[in-house]
């Protein structure tokens, strides 16, 4: 597996509840909940609001007002949340008073994981039996294809939270393989309810970005602005309609500002992709970075500006061509004990 750099916060959260047996008793948590509710009402009184309709957002705002903190990490600032969010769920004691464990798979060490695997395999066998019955009666097997693109499986962290048990990467991949096998069977609709427990919907369209409408300047010419960045370069581009294809960067024509052909190709890339080379004028400002970084920044800025001139389908095509994503690659830092980001010092025998 690769070391993830660009991840969602869901992947980075550590699961404290799965790390060991009980750290706090149920009575303790109940007391914490009572104290939280009382404290919520006191806070509402203090802020002069109605205790009955005091929501979590109001609590956050009140705490931020009463205890202002300049700390960078949001988790380090003072917070007041419901105890179930602060103290994560944990496993209760797995054995009775005589020391005998409740679950029959306790001595495997990962009882919830193995019981889950057994359940899933049972469903798999049931589906196969149903399939065999249908074949025996010569009935057609249901072939409605499940939409694979709209859903994803639970991540390892989410599965750990569900089972309240630590999993290894191997275990997780085995479970996902079993689920895939189950889904691949033609009569998997029977186990649809069970499968839905382990799949999450992904937002169907990744077009969550709002496209700004066109603006009009004094002469009635339509224009739109866009901002882009690449490495340390920051660029803003203003694309005008009814133009001749002139492009100006920082007041200088592109032929003089970018003597290298590759950079000019990058500037023209969005226009060429949409087939609008001679139709727009562009004025951009760019600062920071080097020659190639500035070209990449202007390309992103112009692509973002062109979104307002173009249909939604073409915006989707631009996104799939990689014109609208910010390039996250930056210079890697130098590490101590090494000469550069990757290069180690020369090895000397003595």
């Amino acid at each position: 597996s690769l070391r993830l750099i660009c991840t969602t916060t869901a992947v980075q959260r550590k699961n404290v509840g799965a790390s060991g047996p009980e750290k706090y008793t149920e009575a303790f948590i109940k007391k914490q909940i009572e104290e939280f509710n009382l404290g919520k009402r006191h806070l509402a009184n203090m802020m002069g609001e109605d205790p009955e309709t005091f929501t979590q957002e109001d609590i956050d705002r009140a705490i931020a007002y009463l205890f202002p903190s300049g700390l960078f990490d949001k988790q380090a600032r003072p917070m007041m949340k419901h105890p179930t969010e602060i103290f994560p769920e944990q496993r209760k004691i797995q054995w009775g008073e005589d020391g005998r464990p409740f679950h029959f798979l306790f001595y495997t060490g990962k009882q919830s994981y193995y019981s889950l695997m057994h359940e899933t395999y049972e469903k798999f066998l049931n589906v196969q039996k149903h399939q065999d019955q249908l074949i025996a009666k010569d009935l057609p097997l249901q072939k409605e294809k499940r939409n694979l693109a709209g859903s994803r499986w639970l991540t390892k962290i989410e599965l750990e939270e569900m089972l309240l048990e630590k999993l290894s990467d191997d275990d997780y991949s085995r479970f996902i393989q079993l689920l895939e096998k189950l889904v691949a069977l033609p009569c998997a609709d029977i186990a649809e309810n069970y499968i839905q427990k382990f799949s999450k919907e992904v937002s169907v369209q990744l077009q969550k970005v709002v496209i700004e409408p066109l603006q009009y300047d004094e002469q009635g010419v339509a224009f739109s602005t866009g901002e882009g960045k690449r490495k340390t370069a920051r660029a803003t581009a203003v694309v005008y309609d009814n133009g001749t294809g002139k492009i100006t960067v920082n007041g200088i024509d592109i032929l003089h500002y970018f003597p290298v052909l590759q950079d000019r190709e990058q500037l023209l890339f969005p226009f060429q992709f949409l087939g609008r080379i001679g139709k727009h004028d562009m004025v951009c400002t760019v600062s920071g970075g080097g020659r190639s970084a500035q070209a990449g920044a202007i390309r992103l800025a112009s692509a973002k500006a062109l979104r307002s001139f173009v249909t939604e389908k073409e915006v989707e095509f631009m996104r799939q061509a990689g014109l609208l994503t910010v390039d996250p690659r930056v210079k890697e830092r130098k590490k101590p004990g090494q000469e550069g980001p990757r290069r180690k010092f020369t090895w000397k025998k003595r």
Binding site: L2, L206, E265, F273
Partner: protein, 215 residues
Amino acid sequence: RVMPVRWSRYNPSYLEPEVKKESYQKPLEELTDEEREQMELKAVRPIKAAPPTLSSSVFSDPMISKFTNMMMKSGNKVLARNLMSQTLETIKRKQLEKYHKAPENEKETIECNPYVIFHQALKNCQPIIGLSNITKGGKTYQVPVPLTDNRKRFLAMKWLITECRENKHRRTMMPEKLSQELLLAFNNEGPVIKKKHVLHKMAEANRAYAHFRWW
């Protein structure tokens, strides 16, 4: 557990961008089932940014970019790109000279498009089978092994470049040397093709050790 060193700044769920304009102009009915699934997947997943060497213009060719990158020394892309364009120009000039000197009936057989010559020359230089060192019982044997497409292309390009850098006169310019090599390779002559044939013969000679391969 050892972490692999090669990692990327992109989340693994990011897909590669598709730059060619033609693939977006196909109407919906012509797509096969696989392509439809690909399209649906692309609609949901985020996509990586297109690198600066890739563009949708007719002049950008992935093979040529790869070759330029291999010719580049210490990150001097400007120089490498200039050399590449000068090479293509020299090929065109040589072919045009030949074209104008040739008699009427042979004029159609002479290929003038430098891109076509480049691709054909590379294809001719690609070895089909390679050798790999396998140590068994203390002795290292040269075992014939099938090569992947990427490996074949890489070997062809590497041979061309090393041939030009080392086995020529010091004062000749790179475009001249490269264009000469490419034209020879296009006609299945020249030292690179000879090297390919030598490799094939070695593989044929070591056929007996082919069963040492376990993949």
